[in-house]
């Protein structure tokens, strides 16, 4: 089963990369606010049951993919 993990800087944590992207977008003439930069991890899990796949990916996030002090994560499963 394929999964996508979105890792984001937690709200309240200063994200200078997001601020730099926001400024660059403004230079291009876009009116934007609140830009934040995170990470995407695509992977294939050795599981066919969605609940089992999600449980596995959650453990991956807790143990490696995200650092809970500064990042939150979201898991998407694809058939």
């Amino acid at each position: 089963m394929k999964a996508t993990v979105l890792v984001r800087p937690k709200s309240g944590i200063l994200d200078p990369q997001g601020a730099a992207v926001e400024t660059a977008l403004e230079h291009l003439g876009f009116s934007v606010a609140g830009a934040r930069v995170g990470k995407v991890v695509d992977l294939e899990v050795d599981a066919t049951d969605p609940a089992e796949a999600r449980a596995q990916v959650e453990r991956m996030c807790e143990q490696l993919l995200a650092n809970p002090l500064m990042e939150s994560y979201e898991i998407e499963l694809h058939g």
């Binding site: 200078p16 990369q17 490696l64 650092n67 002090l69 500064m70």
Partner: protein, 231 residues
């Protein structure tokens, strides 16, 4: 009888680049500096361990996140759990945070710039194995060189660390956006410390400052005491 030369290991990860500087500085301060390859599952007989600066495993995912899984890191964790002295410098600090041996995490500098310059630091603790040669309130000048040195922890954890006296060094002027200008912390037990500045680059006045030697010589001395007590 001459006092024994303490044996201090320096872990070499793929991507470490201050390992030789640390080995050189420790030897200059009269320790027997022992390189430890990252694949070692067991540490040799050591009185202290240093995790050096650099970019272990390319700093992939997050700084220090992959080095946490190296066999040598597991051995260092065991060594620390038994009360062994462990000092993490720069990337070594990041590894110790990711491995859960030290509190907090190091984030990208507020300025997004790589900072490479001498910085003034204030000593907050002078009673640790890493700081006995320093005096509380003393200002040290030691270089930093990092892109991800902004120490962060949530407010409740920061308050706990401040109350426990786990903040060891602070930047005397804003440097990278660290919470409370924190430059170095220790664990609750006081046998593990991490700092972003590089004491191994400041052990000789010819290099601009010898203040780093105060930290490393404290470690060498503490390691020597340990060697004597275990002998």
């Amino acid at each position: 009888m001459a006092s024994p030369q303490p044996r201090i290991g320096v872990v070499m990860y793929p991507g470490s680049n201050d390992d030789h500087d640390a080995l050189w500085a420790l030897a200059a301060l009269d320790a027997e500096a022992v390189p430890v390859w990252h694949e070692e599952r067991e540490l040799p007989d050591l009185d202290a361990v240093v995790l050096p600066g650099g970019f272990s495993y390319g700093d992939y995912l997050r700084c220090g996140a992959i080095a946490r899984f190296s066999p040598a890191t597991a051995a260092v964790k065991e060594f620390a759990d038994e009360g062994g002295l462990v000092l993490g410098i720069c990337n070594g600090f990041q590894v110790l945070c990711e491995a859960g041996l030290l509190p907090g995490v190091l984030l990208q500098n507020e300025s997004l710039r790589f900072i490479c310059r001498d910085v003034p630091l204030t000593v907050e603790r002078d009673d640790l194995p890493f700081t006995t040669r320093c005096t509380r309130g003393q200002e040290l000048v030691i270089p930093v060189k990092h892109g991800d040195g902004r120490w962060f922890a949530p407010p409740e954890l920061v308050a706990e660390l401040e109350a426990n006296g786990q903040v060891v060094l602070r930047y005397a002027e804003p440097c990278n956006g660290s919470v409370d200008d924190i430059a170095g912390v220790c664990n609750e037990r006081g046998n593990v410390m991490g700092l972003m500045p590089h004491p191994e680059h400041a052990v000789d006045p010819l290099l601009g400052s010898a203040d780093g030697a105060l930290i490393l010589a404290s470690l060498v001395e503490a390691a020597r005491d340990r060697a004597i007590s275990l002998a």
